[in-house]
Symmetry: C2
Subunit: 323 residues, 2 copies
């Protein structure tokens, strides 16, 4: 008998990651295609179809593809579209679910990448059984998935959970969205990089960062240098955590979650980012919320959480369709 799997897809600006995932959350096969190589969205989808079919043949057709789940920037669960995603090359409103279902002839579903991450944590990570939690994804930007009463918040238009764009600093740094002072201009891979250079300007201390141009600084190095005691690296994490914690205190005043998970490159910095974030959050919380909430790295930090989450979304859809 063949094994039932779904296709989890994580669409990023440069690469699109593919995974065949069974019901227990095991990834049986992983692959990727370039997101930037195709002139049209139809060509891109045809390429995914080609890749997956080939891989299924390589597995001696022992699996049966049941559904498709997609995590994408500005992916809209309600409409099945990807809308005006700033980092993708396809502009406007893309009817992604419709195109996928036409190509694959099985049910497809889309959500934004941070919502997919929250679902991944809920089905296969440390949020199993949690009714109220927050997932913060720290990549080039800051994404978020909010879960209350056991379900994701999609909001009226399908675009709820954009904590990357709450007001972190009045009249602060220029954001890609056109506003100033958005949280992701401070708290993200790019944000902490900007903070390192702000600190190089403000402070006089010696630092390994003084030899590295802005365009060459990789966020990973900030953790490595913090471990070595570099004062700019340590201060950059403190400042980043202060702003993240202060904003999370306001998120708690909205939805009062049990736990807050961090995912992504910056989350891999562990205590360097988590300790100052927790301290600042507690300091800014309304007293009734204090000493109740955990901030911790995602249990799936070293896995492709968006593939797992997109797959989880597909499994949920298939269940709904069955009932």
């Amino acid at each position: 008998m063949s094994q039932e799997v779904v296709l989890g897809i994580d669409i990023g600006g440069t690469f699109t990651k593919l995974g065949l995932v069974d019901k227990s959350g095991s990834i049986l096969m992983e692959d990727e295609v370039r997101s930037t190589e195709h002139e049209t969205i139809e060509a891109f989808i045809a390429d995914i179809h080609h890749h997956i079919n080939q891989r299924i043949r390589e597995m001696d057709n022992k699996i049966e593809l049941m559904g498709i789940g997609v995590g994408a920037p500005n992916g809209n669960f309600y409409s099945g579209t990807i809308e005006h995603a700033p980092n993708l090359m396809w502009k406007g409103i893309i009817p992604f679910v419709k195109l996928m279902e036409k190509q694959f002839a099985i049910p497809a579903v889309v959500t934004n990448d941070a919502n997919a991450a929250a679902l991944g944590e809920m089905l296969f990570g440390d949020a199993v059984g949690l009714e109220n939690f927050v997932m913060i994804t720290l990549g080039t930007g800051l994404g978020s998935g909010l879960v209350v009463n056991g379900g994701l918040i999609y909001g009226n238009d399908g675009f709820a959970g954009e904590l990357g764009h709450v007001r972190a600093v009045d009249n602060g740094r220029q954001c890609g969205c056109g506003k100033r002072g958005c949280l992701e201009t401070y708290v993200s891979a790019t944000g902490i990089k900007r903070t390192v250079f702000e600190l190089l300007a403000e402070e006089n201390v010696d630092s390994a960062f003084r030899k590295i141009p802005f365009s060459k600084l990789k966020p990973k190095l900030i953790t490595a240098l913090a471990e070595e005691g570099d004062p700019i690296a340590i201060k950059a994490f403190e400042r980043t955590g202060f702003l993240l914690g202060r904003s999370l205190a306001d998120t708690v005043a909205h939805i009062s979650p049990a736990k807050i998970f961090l995912f992504g490159g910056l989350a891999k910095a562990g205590k360097w980012i988590i300790d100052p974030t927790y301290k600042s959050m507690e300091e800014h919380l309304l007293p009734i919320y204090r000493d109740k909430i955990q901030i911790l790295p995602s249990a799936l930090l070293n896995k492709n959480i968006a593939i797992l989450g997109a797959a989880a979304l597909s499994w949920k859809q298939l269940e709904r369709l069955k009932s």
Copy 2:
């Protein structure tokens, strides 16, 4: 045959309002008792019981009391308690539901007053059928009830939805909660009063407010003077709306509601508060959320929404118990 009703209770710092409410949201009887007159919570509850029994007798016992719903500051839906409510005279954690059920021998349920208001709007006001909306109550402080996916957000601890204490201004006004710059220190009956006096200090213009001491200023007068063209009154509303709108933009980034309702004395100011709030919210919104959200006064502005909401909560509980 006797008519089935529930008792809706709205506990405030000075008065506690009581109403017998039928299933369609009609208030058959209203009454009130002083919240401050009783040494113990038990004496307070015995007084409510006495009042209600007397009123039911006056109605020739033609009604049957099925359940009790309570809206109270810091009321906790999960635990049935009222916890450390700053404006009530009973300190600590009060097992309110337990005490009410003991006294009345029917099911009781409690939530905070702003959540009750949201339920009132959802069952008997303009939020009928809305899956995602926000209720802001503007009284002495600022309360909020958040509804997503058709249900109230209670959060992990039952205390979600404290938008009165999000950070409106960095290192701003002293708040009763111990923090500084909380939204309710600017946006509430007390908040706008503080703003009037801030403006009297900042500006040189003539204003009727110059003859009124702080302790005598009633918030209603601010609307009346705005109508007469008083520049301080108009500017006070603009400043209040600016800060409310800016904070609501962050609330939208969390839950993306279809509508935001305002309730309470300040909401009765109508366009004076709503226009600057809407303008500021739109200005601070992430572009994907613009031109989608309405801010409007509660449909129950001149009714006791908390009694209706508390009653709605009780009706919901009775349905749950039946099924």
